[in-house]
Symmetry: D3
Subunit: 249 residues, 6 copies
Amino acid sequence: MLLHLSTWAEIEGFLQRSETVVIPIGSNEQHGPTGLLGTDWLCPEIIAHEAEKQGDILVAPTFNIGMAQHHLDFPGTIALRPSTFMLAIGDWCRSLGHAGFEKLYFLNGHGGNVATIEAAFSELYAEASYAGRKRGFACKLKNWWDLKGVTALANSQFPTGHGSHATPSEIAVTQWAYPQAIKSANYAPQIAPTGPIREATDFRARYADGRMGSDPGQATPEKGGELVRTAAAALLEDVAAFGAEAAPA
Amino acid sequence: MLLHLSTWAEIEGFLQRSETVVIPIGSNEQHGPTGLLGTDWLCPEIIAHEAEKQGDILVAPTFNIGMAQHHLDFPGTIALRPSTFMLAIGDWCRSLGHAGFEKLYFLNGHGGNVATIEAAFSELYAEASYAGRKRGFACKLKNWWDLKGVTALANSQFPTGHGSHATPSEIAVTQWAYPQAIKSANYAPQIAPTGPIREATDFRARYADGRMGSDPGQATPEKGGELVRTAAAALLEDVAAFGAEAAPA
Amino acid sequence: MLLHLSTWAEIEGFLQRSETVVIPIGSNEQHGPTGLLGTDWLCPEIIAHEAEKQGDILVAPTFNIGMAQHHLDFPGTIALRPSTFMLAIGDWCRSLGHAGFEKLYFLNGHGGNVATIEAAFSELYAEASYAGRKRGFACKLKNWWDLKGVTALANSQFPTGHGSHATPSEIAVTQWAYPQAIKSANYAPQIAPTGPIREATDFRARYADGRMGSDPGQATPEKGGELVRTAAAALLEDVAAFGAEAAPA
Amino acid sequence: MLLHLSTWAEIEGFLQRSETVVIPIGSNEQHGPTGLLGTDWLCPEIIAHEAEKQGDILVAPTFNIGMAQHHLDFPGTIALRPSTFMLAIGDWCRSLGHAGFEKLYFLNGHGGNVATIEAAFSELYAEASYAGRKRGFACKLKNWWDLKGVTALANSQFPTGHGSHATPSEIAVTQWAYPQAIKSANYAPQIAPTGPIREATDFRARYADGRMGSDPGQATPEKGGELVRTAAAALLEDVAAFGAEAAPA
Amino acid sequence: MLLHLSTWAEIEGFLQRSETVVIPIGSNEQHGPTGLLGTDWLCPEIIAHEAEKQGDILVAPTFNIGMAQHHLDFPGTIALRPSTFMLAIGDWCRSLGHAGFEKLYFLNGHGGNVATIEAAFSELYAEASYAGRKRGFACKLKNWWDLKGVTALANSQFPTGHGSHATPSEIAVTQWAYPQAIKSANYAPQIAPTGPIREATDFRARYADGRMGSDPGQATPEKGGELVRTAAAALLEDVAAFGAEAAPA
Amino acid sequence: MLLHLSTWAEIEGFLQRSETVVIPIGSNEQHGPTGLLGTDWLCPEIIAHEAEKQGDILVAPTFNIGMAQHHLDFPGTIALRPSTFMLAIGDWCRSLGHAGFEKLYFLNGHGGNVATIEAAFSELYAEASYAGRKRGFACKLKNWWDLKGVTALANSQFPTGHGSHATPSEIAVTQWAYPQAIKSANYAPQIAPTGPIREATDFRARYADGRMGSDPGQATPEKGGELVRTAAAALLEDVAAFGAEAAPA
């Protein structure tokens, strides 16, 4: 079920059979000369929606803006400060927890989100810990490329030039889902440099076209389709395992 | 152009010819027994995307969660506290302003958002005012039903039972766009009661099935299509006027 | 009763017969060449204190600083950021609610306050909604010019040049109450221009003497007295109605 | 001059001859069986307004709500959390500093405010210190009872039973200014107990009628008048000295 | 017991016989040409650890960074904004209170901390007061120089040139504890000037070498030892008294 | 150099030859039946102080409280909420950056800190990114067990039962530095269970004595000494490399 295409009564019904909800989460940020600005939120959305066609999971609307401050010098990037991001994640979780969901599964599409999302979970737990009570829900973060089989597949598809930002694997996923939005460019150099991530002016000075360590020219819609199918199947499994996990006595 | 299906370089190019961006904004909240939880963010997204097909505007990703605390006792609702909502709007605007956009046009789909969005704009302006500098961008909020011709059309389509929440007009818009997700129910009473909006428990006690003053049973996809076409045309005009507005000397 | 001229024991006594309190709220901000800086908090204070002489209502101290960031380039303006304003309103309401007041009636004197006050109310309700409990009090905002009969009277007094800031009606109210502080000036133009409200430098560039759309030269203490009497009577009625409103079963 | 009864142009004129502004600040809180809830903001207002009649000082509107959390179990108390109070003081100061005031003199009427006001000043200075720039204005806090001669006079008027809350001196000041609101009660014991100040339930358990160490029965309007005259004269001197203080080279 | 060298089970045991914990708190900031940057947190730590050898008290880790914004133009200073400081103190107290400590005794080494620490305590109490519940723990702030006998001793040791920052007494305490880190310099003038404390640039312009009113050249390790012994003995007494204090009935 | 045992003038001197500062950072939290509550801040402090004896590095005071909300049900734990922790880290960094340090190296002793520290760095960078300016300093986080050679050594010392909390390696480090505080206990089971980390009540229910996956009984002071020597040497190298890293052109 897609939560946003359901009624509240249908969600009430779903809660009778499951207390788990999947939230695609990403970022809207530059992805080099050919990557879509939406890449990092489109990927988990594409995968979660594909999984939803195959299994009885509930998928929330996509949390489409994340921690992308370092990309702000490339237009089209929209970023939340970590502190804002944490508050927003907190309100999403409190809302879903209030409704009765006990397992909140975030399928993430942006490496730069990880630290802040984990900090947001701790903030939510801390609220309960100081008060000496149970939180009532558990949160889990999973990057789509960490789903079983996905990185292995990507490594076999792109043995060199995968890199860490504007990677051929994520671009392939969007090419499969949005073939009408496939872009091309000459990459110079073919494989982008890599290094540390700091403030936006530093980032643009280091990474002239926005890529980090990647050669996105290797992406094809077909490879994207393979990745999506692998990820969607693994997602169903992983969500089921999380949903089945029992609380301590 | 849809921002999330564009590259940063394409946005850089767009900024050469326009400094205006349209941001659909809404809420994910219960909409009565037959309305989709996504109704309030889907409507402005549907209208903005329709307009984008007809005119040279840039549409940002949809801001899909808003001020919906009063609906929290109906499952599926996801709400931001006003304070969180303001911070998030602030970061969206700062990001877009940083990129060079000078006119930020929010097409809103949820009446409950209006006060907080306006407060968020004032917070952004205040930041500049205390510092004695220009803000660099102007913000505008427009509810889709306030676009020229829309309310008149809705009044003619639904002379009674339009109401203020889970209205037949907004449900018609989603029916036109998502015909596969049309729901039905018996409404009792046919036209829902109305009254004040306070905390969630108060809300659910007053409005048993979530509707306020409305009879959504009148919605049809055809009426939705008429509304979308009227709104999309008016949006193009309104965005153009906002973009053309000059700053004071 | 004026709360600040009462003892806590007298308030305890008042609470035996009423759980409603009236809070005049406004702003301290420039009001053109002849309007008092205090206009927007003086008007609701004047009206509430006049009503208090005629009926058994309890009037709290005046909340005299509001959302006036756009006026900051005119000296004498004191403004709260919306986020600060919301926190302060929140603490006022929590304090009064803690004492047992269940109906908090804000009589407002500044249009620019409306969005932020409404957002503050929602923030307070949200606190209860996420916690799944009742808030314990209800908040109501009423602009003094929206009290029954007031706008109609102002329209008849000032058929042209009423405008929206530094209006002849609000200035008349202060002239009636503070005749020793009546100011005069030549207005050029007689009726000020109008337009959007943004940051302070933008505001001062658009509205050279601070007025928006108004000709305050039409104000007289007599007209002010008529407005105060009409507003005070309507206030008593409106407060009584709010106090009588029952919570849902 | 009273700022709120002036126009912005008059303030612009005042700034030509002085960059100092006096802000009465206090609290609205229980003051025992006979003290007015407004005592702590009325006293500095009364004194500042009296001084304003005698010297060329500018008096801002009164900051009438302060740090009174410990009094919340007595109805009529309105309190700001320290964090809220600091933000509000910050915005007042930024507003006045933006207008060109370089010396912000807070005349305080509530001992419980002192720590938070000083912390608020440090927060304002810190903003400049981290940025490596000048703050542009200096803040000063003075309790009215610390004005030259006042405590000596109060000691001579009330050699025993002055206490620290609901004191005869502060009540005398309000009796002088608001003779129509003089209250009486039997005090038992005549001199109230004293001790620590903690949360509101602890406070009410320790101090049954709200007084701390005081016998307010000794207050008279005449003694209040003496206190006001002494304080007003000293205030003019102290404000002048603060205004004359030069910044370091 | 030193908390950080204990196990949680040992703390559980300690709580069986005492609910009081001592927290040394200070600041890391410039202390003139010869004072250690750590002076203000080392002094309370030295005294508390000395007392711990002589009596059965529990000493928490040292809170080593405080409110030192005015010293930021001297390198080595590390400062928390008051708002940050308050939040951190709040979390320390909530943690210790959650564990069952009912008396939190802060031994402070920095005058500039006092206002903010007191405001932090009020913030903690306010949290309980608005909620209408008991806080569960009481907080006490004591400056080490306010412990019984300490200021009298310092006055006899340093009849002139004690001053208020980089004082010979605090430097003597660190000399006694860290003889390997005794520094020397020519002081010009021998006794430093004094005046107000504002932002960092103002502070450095007024106080060229960082001292305020002091002649630290009088410090010796022997005088420091006397101060430590006096303070440690008084601390044990004061902590015992605080621990023995009963809550109101 | 130890910053807290230096004068500001000595730091000014150090800045002539290096712009790098090392900040030990950890947490004060339960470490099982035999681990010290201070383990996680003592370990990086021990290692950094050991390195400081061997190389010309500057070591700041230890940031001794971190993100430990999950341990709050074991007494002696002191935790900062992630949001508080981020603000405090921010103020430390701004202070040191203001002084001229361009490389801030955090040596971390607590895995639970990682996400929040990284989020804090991003918050600091974001401040600069939205403003379109350089941050002026770079931040680096290194866990002491990730220093070159340390984990390999620990694996050889403790091939089984190392675990992730209250590990024999961290306990060995504190045993080496604080032999007077070595504790013993019977562990049951010898190797503790492992699992997820959530709120405090959940944690204590899962991990009865506080350990996660570890058998701390294998710790000896000798092994601790080996770890410290390896880590200290690697720290000097790693700090030098970070200090030598050039900014992009």
